[in-house]
């Protein structure tokens, strides 16, 4: 993932933009687009996945770049981004805390964990803290139900969470 420099929650990507754009460009060039001229948009979702992993989020200039390359309109690209919960057009914090709110986690008390995180971080679901450090999100089932409730921080899974353990989890996130 490309490095982001965040000041007061606004993440600056311009310093790395050209190299990141080149990386995305190379990826799109590697796709067999020419084999399927009428079906180019079938590559849209995987391209957006790659773009988000390069930039951390999908700013509008990236959206128009992808739109142009795949021969579809910016509105269609935005329509897809806004439909799928995985995609975001806003920069997110350096630590993405995602609480699983699947059924198994719910009956084991995921709601209390979310409440405690909201209180500690002072943000709602889908928001990033003002210092750009933490993003709080929820997701639906990681399939790790045996350890419910589960919280994922930047891909690392914490099992058997409780409201009391929240502070420890936040303390683990060191810059």
């Amino acid at each position: 993932m490309g490095e982001m420099h965040c000041v007061n929650g606004v993440c600056e990507i311009s310093s790395r933009k050209s190299s990141q754009m080149e990386e995305l460009d190379a990826y799109i060039k590697s796709l067999p687009l020419a084999d399927n001229p009428t079906r180019k948009r079938g590559f849209l979702i995987q391209t957006l996945h790659r773009a988000q992993s390069i930039f951390g989020y999908l700013p509008v200039e990236v959206q128009s770049f992808v739109a142009e390359r795949l021969g579809i309109s910016l509105a269609e690209v935005y329509g897809v981004i806004s439909f799928y919960s995985f995609f975001t057009d806003k920069p997110i914090g350096r630590y993405a805390i995602n609480v699983c709110t699947g059924t198994a986690c719910f009956v084991k008390g995921a709601a209390q964990v979310v409440d405690e995180l909201k209180r500690k971080l002072g943000v709602s679901e889908g928001e990033t803290t003002a210092d750009g450090k933490f993003f709080l999100g929820v997701l639906r089932c990681l399939g790790a139900c045996s350890m419910a409730p589960v919280v994922m921080v930047n891909g690392k899974v914490y099992g058997h969470m409780t409201a009391e353990k929240v502070q420890g989890l936040l303390d683990d996130c060191k810059d």
Partner: protein, 613 residues
């Protein structure tokens, strides 16, 4: 090295079987929950011990997928050629030396051993206590999913070899139809019939798709298969492609399963190298190519028309059927969509025949079903059982009953589209029809067990919150109706319920069920309808008495300190909002205006001095 014929495959598999191997095979469970529970550390300890004591000749360490014993992860199994075995659960790196020294003679002391509770119907008869019959999970937890040779050694790709070199497409469909295999993704549509519709379309470009968008919260059997035995899915898709005349397959998988994606990509690459995928498979002239497409977090994409739109790079909105995908699917071409578990049955049916498959399960629903047991159950994990087993057997004999000795209240099957089943139906023999008859459904096989501490109104609200959130917004009954229903339930759980609201909830449920466009909307009211049918008294307690009998709904409960308080101060320390005060060794008080009803004090108090009313 490419394998060009069925004979060459058989020879290759025999050579693999005859390979020199160590007397003890040590299986280490490396699925998502195993890894998260610390199996990686255990594996490191095992490899370290082997290197240190030069035991390479004594042990073959095999990293396998999930054994279904998620509650006891990290899990390892020692086994030999003669069928001796010991399974250890909750393994720590410290126990490793003792386990390795004990070998297969006797279990190491100070460890937790587990009896195998399953058998493999393809080559065994069940022993005492082996209630599970593993067909779908036949290799999951037994072989290294990243090594195609291990799959081949277990008879892998022999069904594909047989199909493409000695059967006609119609004969393949006939076998699958005769087995009466039904779609394991939810509705139970006969797979053979689905294939025959697509096969009947004029020749030309066709597609076969694997729905690996396991979006049902609480269901994780597809993840287990994809992580533990990806080749089973590839082989079945190639067989299906041959049967319907498709040369292109797509696996649509959710982005939340990175390990499954990695193992699928690896399996496809290895299968192409061996010639099991690609051009001229087993010299038959049949070509078949597979690609992976990713979801991006949308539950509705489990619906087949929505899934197809998502593969086409569009918003995953469903469309009206007909036309069915078998006639007009991906890129408007005939398309078959089956889910992971359905595919995982195919090769076994080809190898052993339709009659063998029908020998398990019930007349209307032959074969097995994998259930994911989760929630307030002792042994969270996967259970693959013959259809027709009772819920009581699954929950109590396999699942070990309710956690912490609490009272069973209900089990939710079918996820957000299903319903809850209560004590009175525990002895029902479950298959597709039986579950439907009591207002639930098979769905993908998630079973969330709830105990006396769960509020059923709150559970219904949870599911509705889920569907309202996941509604794609295309049709009004689902987009607006579910939102309104959620508001009504919110009123009920926050103490503002009236009988009028209660009646409105019932009418709205029926209207949405009748008028929504796709399966997601039509089934969204099910959790409300089934909790209403089984727990009307709980709803009425909320509505009439403004009381939550289970003590869950925050607005309807209050925490108070009783005279049992010894003044230890632990509750005040645990309270996240500083609502509890009191002198040391004196009874404490809760400031109700500040209290957020999180229950931290209730859980913390060792003297049971906090009352919840």
């Amino acid at each position: 090295m490419r394998i060009e014929s069925p004979a060459a495959l058989a020879e290759y598999a025999a050579a693999l079987k005859a390979r020199k191997h160590a007397p003890i095979k040590l299986l280490v469970s490396m699925g998502t929950c195993g890894i998260a529970a610390g199996t990686g550390e255990v594996l490191k300890a095992i490899n370290g011990y082997i290197a240190e004591h030069k035991l390479e000749e004594a042990f073959d360490v095999v990293e396998v997928g999930c054994m279904g014993l998620c509650y006891a992860e990290p899990v390892i199994m020692l086994t030999d050629d003669k069928g001796k075995r010991i399974i250890y659960g909750d393994v720590t790196p410290h126990q490793v030396p003792a386990i390795m020294q004990a070998g297969l003679d006797a279990p190491a002391t100070g460890t937790h051993t587990i009896d195998r509770c399953w058998y493999y119907p393809e080559d065994e008869q069940p022993a005492e206590g082996e209630l599970q019959a593993r067909i779908v999970l036949r290799n999951t937890g037994r072989i290294n999913p990243e090594d195609i040779d291990q799959y081949v050694a277990e008879g892998g790709y022999s069904a594909l070899a047989k199909v493409v070199t000695s059967m006609k497409p119609q004969e393949v469909i006939d076998v699958i139809s005769a087995s009466n295999l039904r779609g394991r993704g939810g509705a139970g549509f006969p797979t053979g019939k689905k294939w025959s519709f697509a096969a009947a379309q004029p020749e030309g470009e066709k597609f076969i798709i694997c729905n690996a968008d396991e979006g049902d919260p609480g269901a994780f059997m597809d993840r287990a298969v994809l992580e533990g035995d990806p080749n089973a899915v590839l082989e079945a898709m190639a067989i299906g492609g041959f049967a319907i005349g498709a040369h292109n397959g797509v696996i649509y998988i959710r982005a939340e399963y990175p390990l499954a994606v990695k193992r699928l990509e690896n399996a496809i690459k290895q299968a192409e190298e061996k010639g099991f995928l690609g051009k001229n498979i087993f010299g038959s002239g049949f070509d078949f190519k597979l690609e992976i497409k990713f979801g991006a977090g949308a539950f509705v994409c489990g619906e087949e028309t929505a899934l197809i739109h998502s593969i086409e790079g569009q918003r995953g909105e469903p469309t009206f059927k007909p036309p069915f995908p078998a006639i007009q699917g991906l890129w408007k071409r005939p398309t078959v969509v089956n889910n992971v578990e359905t595919y995982a049955c195919i090769a076994a049916i080809i190898r052993k025949g339709a009659d063998w498959f029908k020998g398990l399960g019930t007349a209307g629903s032959p074969g097995t079903k994998v259930f994911a047991l989760a929630g307030k159950i002792s042994k969270v994990g996967l259970a693959e059982v013959p259809m027709g087993m009772t819920l009581r057997q699954i929950i109590y004999e396999i699942g070990g009953g309710i956690k912490d000795g609490r009272e069973f209240k209900a089990v939710q099957t079918g996820g957000p589209s299903g319903g809850c089943i209560t004590k009175k139906n525990l002895d029902l023999q479950i298959d597709y029809e039986a579950l439907k008859s009591i207002g639930s459904m098979m769905g993908s096989g998630g079973m969330i067990v709830m105990d006396e501490d769960d509020c059923m109104v709150n559970i219904a609200k949870f599911f509705l919150d889920f569907t309202a959130d996941e509604s794609c917004g295309k049709c009004t009954p689902c987009r607006v109706g579910n939102r309104r229903m959620l508001e009504l339930l919110n009123k009920i759980t926050s103490g503002e319920g009236t009988m009028e609201i209660f009646e409105k909830l019932k009418t709205l449920s029926a209207t949405i069920k009748d008028t929504a466009l796709c399966g997601l909307g039509q089934t969204a009211p099910n959790p409300v309808l089934s909790t209403l049918a089984n727990f009307e008294d709980e709803y009425l307690a909320h509505v009439k008495d403004h009381r939550c009998p289970a003590g869950v709904c925050a607005a309807l409960i209050q925490f108070n300190v009783t005279d049992k308080c010894v003044g230890c101060g632990l509750c005040a320390k645990r309270c996240p909002v500083g609502a509890i005060s009191g002198e040391k060794k004196m009874k404490h008080v809760i400031n109700q205006a500040k209290c957020i009803k999180c229950g931290a004090c209730f859980n913390a108090c060792k003297f049971h001095a906090i009352a919840k009313i």
